[in-house]
């Protein structure tokens, strides 16, 4: 039998600490373990690039990386020996060209092997939604005739009980850790983001642990003035990390633009397999942290600064305050 009723009058605070602010090294060391399945998401925007570099810096091995739309981060994790498996739906360097380190591995031109699990974007989104919503699978109206289904046994089908026809389904994806970047959060981990949102909300809810890197930590009052802007509530966040510039060379709406030239250069330079380890040495291993990296590339970032475009304010007003309506008090 479960114990008797709680004793009256005992003020206990048994919850997890409300303040979840952490450094990036601490958050990565605590939640990303060798062999973990790690989602690093952000669709060309709000990409947790600094977090990926910290994983590289800590040389955490045997990871299975979940990332819908790959970019140079994947070449980097692979060259650093962190990446064993890849669950993805686009294997290019965003729109910048090829990922040559990844191609060398997949084309059998290097000693590294990658265990590839490949879907379409729709399939990856479906897998994350199922993971977030506690569903075993998610139905999707496509895939039926292509060759992807022939090479990926995780694309299955069920019979629609209403029409009797077959429909494809993909299984839930629940990363051990989901990592995303966002514009801002409070210290408890209520995360607000705007611009291109991709699957940031779904991958966070799908994760068993959630690390969020943000451009800035803001006061509770900033978050609570606009609760619909919160895409990830504090309840599900494990660590929130102040990390300005943490998405570079990807963009953060209202903070900095994408460095298209860096994307193109990566796809050019990584043709040379010596170039990738050298880049890692100069930009990750020999630097103590992300701040040092930003300092190193300072001029590039300056060129990406944006001009303001304010959203305007909406009114969250509710009924007359207590003083006008009669007796009462602040509940919490």
């Amino acid at each position: 039998m479960i114990g008797g009723p709680a004793r009256a009058g005992r003020a206990v605070d048994s919850r997890r600490p409300r303040d979840k602010v952490s450094t990036l090294p601490d958050a990565i060391a605590r939640y990303v373990r060798p062999g973990s399945r790690v989602a690093l998401e952000g669709f060309g925007h709000l990409v947790p690039m600094a977090a990926a570099h910290e994983i590289i810096r800590q040389r955490i091995a045997d990871l299975t990386i979940c990332r819908m739309s790959c970019d140079m981060m994947i070449d980097q994790l692979l060259a650093a020996g962190c990446l064993r498996g890849l669950i993805t739906s686009f294997l290019g360097n965003s729109s910048g060209g090829s990922l040559h380190e990844l191609r060398r591995a997949l084309e059998g031109r290097s000693t590294v092997k990658v265990e590839l699990q490949e879907f379409s974007h729709g399939g990856m989104i479906a897998r994350y939604i199922a993971g977030a919503a506690g569903l075993p699978f998610y139905p999707i109206r496509s895939y039926d005739d292509g060759d992807l289904r022939q090479v990926n046994p995780l694309i299955a089908s069920v019979t629609d009980p209403f029409s009797g026809d077959e429909i494809c389904v993909v299984p839930a994806l629940r990363p051990d850790v989901s990592v995303v970047h966002a514009q801002r959060a409070d210290r408890a981990g209520n995360v607000q983001a705007w611009g291109i949102l991709g699957v940031q909300q779904e991958v966070a809810f799908a994760g068993k642990a959630v690390i969020v890197t943000v451009e800035e930590i803001v006061d509770d009052a900033v978050i609570r003035a606009d609760p619909n802007r919160t895409i990830i509530p504090a309840q599900i966040v494990s660590a929130v990390v102040p990390c300005p510039g943490g998405a570079y060379p990807c963009s953060v709406q209202g903070f900095y633009d994408r460095d298209d030239a860096f994307f193109r250069r990566w796809s050019e330079n990584a043709r040379d397999e010596q170039a990738v380890p050298k880049w890692l040495r100069d930009n990750v291993y020999e630097l103590p942290d992300h701040a040092a990296y930003l300092q190193r590339i300072g001029a590039a970032l300056d060129r990406l600064r944006v001009v303001p475009a304010p959203s305007g304010s909406v009114d969250y007003g509710s009924r007359q305050p207590v003083s006008a309506a009669g007796p009462g008090l602040v509940v919490s």
């Binding site: 009723p5 509710s318 009669g326």
Partner: protein, 260 residues
């Protein structure tokens, strides 16, 4: 309305008992009425860090008064987060992010199954038609544990056989767990004006663990619709403290919106 020791009304007893049960809990799904007050009282006295989720999608509300409904705009102003219902029911409830769900019902059986659909007659032509599930089916299935509050303790509400099983408790058919079934453990606690019943896993049913002041075990057993088992270590409910009553009556619900 009966008043027990210290002139405590049934409604007050329910709220205070429910508030005490929230010690050690973190994320609570709040319904209209008693749960709203119980959570506010618990936040004031026992668990300031309770994380509250309302059926309207409000997560982490900070109202300046007790809200008058779950869609009170007071809950939104200054809240930490508001999500749509797909996120609420999909990611927070079915995604097993809720520690405690509060539910009410017209009838409950010994397994913790609930009826909020009809009394008498049948589904095609009920004698009394009630509102139905709302979100109760999902909260029951996926909150880690469920507290049920019944405002009238009688053989007509604590029944041997439900007129309709709106909300099956996961414990019912041993179906809890697995990736396609309910993920919660069902009703852990039933609070009535006469006492507290808790889930006895060894027996697979709710048993009496505490009686309210001014009531006897025999009376509770006699007014329960099934042969009610009594815990060996049964206790009498601790009296409400002066502080609990003062906050409840003077601060939280001075107009007795919920304490009616």
């Amino acid at each position: 309305m009966s008043t027990g020791a210290r002139g405590v009304t049934d409604a007050e007893r329910l709220v205070i008992a429910a508030a005490r049960l929230l010690v050690g809990r973190r994320t609570v799904f709040a319904g209209h009425g008693v749960p709203t007050l119980a959570i506010s009282l618990a936040q004031r006295l026992y668990e300031p860090g309770l994380e509250i989720v309302y059926e309207s999608g409000v997560v982490g509300p900070h109202p300046d008064r007790v809200p008058t409904s779950i869609s009170d705009s007071l809950l939104v102003t200054g809240a930490e987060c508001v999500v749509g219902m797909p996120q609420l029911f999909g990611y927070l409830i079915q995604g097993s992010r809720i520690d405690v769900g509060f539910l009410g019902a017209a009838q409950i059986d010994r397994q913790g199954n609930l009826n909020s659909t009809l009394i008498g007659g049948d589904y095609q032509q009920p004698q009394t038609r009630l509102p139905g599930s709302g979100g109760a089916i999902e909260v029951m299935a996926h909150a880690r544990e469920v507290f049920v509050v019944i405002r009238m303790h009688s053989p007509r509400s604590l029944v041997s056989h439900l007129d309709f099983c709106t909300t099956p408790s996961p414990a019912r058919a041993g179906k809890q767990g697995g990736s396609t079934q309910a993920s919660g453990r069902g009703v852990s606690t039933l609070i009535t004006p006469k006492g507290t019943l808790r889930w006895a896993a060894d027996r697979g049913e709710l048993i009496l663990t505490a009686v309210a002041r001014g009531t006897t075990v025999d009376d509770v057993v006699a007014t329960t619709g099934w042969p009610l088992a009594v815990a060996g270590d049964i206790v009498e409910d601790p009296l409400p403290t002066v502080e609990e009553l003062r906050i409840l009556r003077e601060e939280l619900d001075p107009e007795r919106i919920y304490l009616r």
